[in-house]
């Protein structure tokens, strides 16, 4: 087992590839993005799959470092061979050393609010993508018919007409988070 510490932040990285999404969402996203690129929109993906292992490491490092969670009671996760409890020089468990190592992980991850353990991203059913365009956008909808979007804003974050096109492909917008699209809008 490897002790907790900032080196864990490089393990289980967040993907920005649609190849890591779960079917049938992967195909739906690829068709939607292809239609967007074909229409001349600018597409910038920031996240697709966030591995559950990463969410686990982020969640418990934050709870140990900032919320007083007992490192000895962190549940194990298959595939993550981490030792949360550090020892003092005499071999006894050291809560301060454990908390310090967890805090280094929090800083390495850049955590400012308690991370969730699971989400549409950890399932491979969500994508964070910025979509923008200039002028009118003529895009082929899921049925292959051209739709011209003349409304503003010219961004995926706020344009209801584009969000309707995305829904036709099975890629649904979550209103509260500017770049977030998923299987069900959550």
């Amino acid at each position: 087992m490897a002790l907790s510490g900032p080196q864990w932040a490089t393990h289980f990285p967040t993907s920005s590839s649609t190849d890591d999404l779960t079917e049938p969402f992967r195909s739906a996203v690829n068709r939607f993005l292809s239609a967007l690129r074909g229409a001349g929109a600018t597409v910038s993906i920031s996240a697709t799959l966030r591995p559950p292992e990463r969410a686990y490491l982020m969640h418990y490092s934050f709870r140990i470092a900032r919320e007083g969670f007992d490192p000895a009671t962190v549940p194990a996760m298959a595939g993550v061979d981490i030792q949360w409890v550090h020892s003092a020089p005499d071999g006894s468990p050291s809560s301060s050393a454990s908390r310090h190592a967890a805090e280094q992980m929090v800083q390495a991850y850049g955590i400012v609010f308690r991370p969730a353990l699971g989400s549409r991203h950890t399932e491979g059913n969500a994508i964070d993508v910025d979509i923008t365009w200039q002028g009118d956008l003529t895009i082929s909808n899921a049925g292959g018919n051209p739709i011209t979007i003349t409304t503003t804003p010219r961004s995926g974050a706020g344009n209801a007409a584009l969000q309707g096109v995305g829904a036709g492909f099975g890629v649904r917008k979550l209103a509260s988070d500017a770049p977030h699209w998923s299987t069900d809008g959550h």
Partner: protein, 197 residues
């Protein structure tokens, strides 16, 4: 002299109804307030060891004073100042918002800057008051206190300022902060809507 004064008087009389409508038009008044507030409120957060400020104001000079409102109850304030335009470590908190400017900031009150996001207030010389667990200030100087809040959506935080009462008063300001990881959502629709203030 008297002739020009008379002409001026007639012009003022003609303009008075329009001036009255303008000063009492709530839309115009709200628009001015929102515009003022948007350039005076921002988000401060530590990123990769750098304290960063994100604000819709491209004209903050080095040394500009800031008050940071720490948002977790019990709320408090601390002082900071602008150091310079942001280095690359202050990566954007909302890539869909091209007008959001960023600066590096530092503590000016001796206390370390908070690790969690706070709301930064610039160009404000009024008082901050403690009301129970919350801090208020009359940011737009309309005689009503403004309250400071934040909540989580799925991928980010929503920081808001409200007049009179949080959630039930008028939302005066809103800024989204994309975290890049998942959090448990606890926002209400009023806190996340992007239209309005």
């Amino acid at each position: 002299m008297s002739s020009s004064h008379s002409v001026a008087s007639r012009r003022i009389k003609l303009l008075l109804p329009f001036l009255f409508v303008s000063l009492h038009d709530p839309c115009t008044a709200a628009g001015k307030t929102a515009g003022t507030i948007a350039s005076r409120l921002g988000v401060a957060v530590q990123k990769s060891g750098t304290a960063c400020l994100y604000i819709h104001n491209p004209d903050l000079a080095n040394g500009s004073p800031l008050i940071l409102v720490l948002l977790s109850p019990p709320q408090s304030t601390t002082k900071a100042e602008v150091v310079r335009p942001a280095p690359p470590s202050c990566s954007s908190i909302d890539t869909s918002d091209a007008d959001l400017k960023s600066y590096e900031i530092r503590s000016s009150g001796g206390a370390p800057l908070p690790a969690t996001p706070s709301i930064a207030v610039s160009g404000f010389s009024g008082r901050f008051q403690a009301r129970g667990k919350y801090v208020t200030a009359d940011i737009n100087q309309d005689g009503q206190p403004e309250f400071f809040r934040f909540c989580a959506s799925s991928d980010g935080l929503h920081l808001t300022v409200w007049s009179r009462k949080p959630l039930r008063g008028q939302r005066r300001w809103h800024q989204y902060y994309y975290l890049g990881y998942d959090v448990e959502p606890n926002c209400t629709p009023a806190e996340t809507r992007t239209s309005g203030h």
